[in-house]
Symmetry: C2
């Protein structure tokens, strides 16, 4: 985890010629299957896309990188080659707690271990995505995980004293992400 977590950055540019086999995606969802779930109810369900045609249907419904000037997301040629939508099955419960976060992080860590990477996206045109993937109304759309072979360098920095959390790209396209200092996220214990 000490090696894996720092490598698990939010990647938004990919080698679009590197396809992801559906077996890989099923393996990743297989990790999520074993995750903890509140009351063991296991409401997260998944639908995925990994062929270029359905990937192209998914892409326009995602909102990318709000802090970057060009937030239309990756250009053609640098787009994700797989998507996993994390859904909440409302016939099981309507209280998903943070089950989707648990599942999503597990999938992303598994992806990084396999040389992939990606981005969790919560800003979604849900009606559009529902149409694109034919998702029945029973399922609430919670997150989309965009996956691929990363084509950008992402570096972690320490948040500056002004507290600005906005990530940014430098002239060479390196993506910089400011994170809070450890002492700023741990409260003094009594």
């Amino acid at each position: 985890m000490k090696n894996l977590v720092p490598k698990n950055r939010s990647y938004r540019r990919f080698y679009q010629d590197c396809r992801i086999e559906s077996g890989i995606i099923r393996d990743l969802i297989g990790l999520a299957r074993l995750c903890g779930s509140a009351g063991n109810l296991q409401p997260p369900k998944f639908i995925f896309s990994c062929d270029s045609e359905s990937n192209a249907r998914v892409f326009p419904h995602l909102v990318w990188a709000r802090y970057l000037k060009d937030s239309r997301g990756p250009s053609e040629g640098e787009r994700p080659t797989g998507y996993i939508a994390v859904l909440g099955d409302t016939e099981i419960t309507r209280a998903f707690g943070c089950d989707h976060g648990i599942a999503a992080q597990t999938i992303m860590l598994g992806a990084v271990e396999k040389g992939l990477g990606g981005c969790m996206i919560a800003s979604i045109d849900k009606d559009g995505l529902r149409d694109a993937l034919n998702i029945p109304p029973r399922f609430e759309i919670l997150l989309v995980l965009a996956l691929g072979k990363p084509r950008e360098k992402v570096v972690i920095e320490t948040l500056k004293p002004d507290g600005d959390v906005k990530y940014w790209r430098d002239g060479e396209g390196v993506h910089h992400v400011p994170k809070r200092r450890l002492d700023d996220i741990i409260l003094d214990h009594p």
Copy 2:
């Protein structure tokens, strides 16, 4: 991840004589520090306990294993030796999304890798815990991660056709957890 995720079960009985050093807990929170966060806002903050006195103050405010007959939780001698409360800093945002799930799963996987284990608990007497750990009103209590060196065997089973998700303990104290089949959590893709 293929090895780590199956080992990351919800453990509720521990070797209470195995203490956890605060440095270990800080390392685990250090993993959470690097996690993705919606809009990179990073609202999760943490407070922990790992000495027997403050552990004893935390314990009574947690609700354990609702499906077991004896849900008062682990007996004295088998209780967690560390707790991390995951808080939401309302001065940053009030919309925590699933950031706490992402952080919590990362911490739990890190703990398992270090030979520890535990349980994410969302059923919390929040007022009681706030008093016990002196948590300022600014912070919303989202989860408690109970940690220790696990003292029980947990096995995963496949959900039976009746769909009962309740975990159970057999005569030898082995804890059985039914999980949905992979094909039951993946929707047919279009």
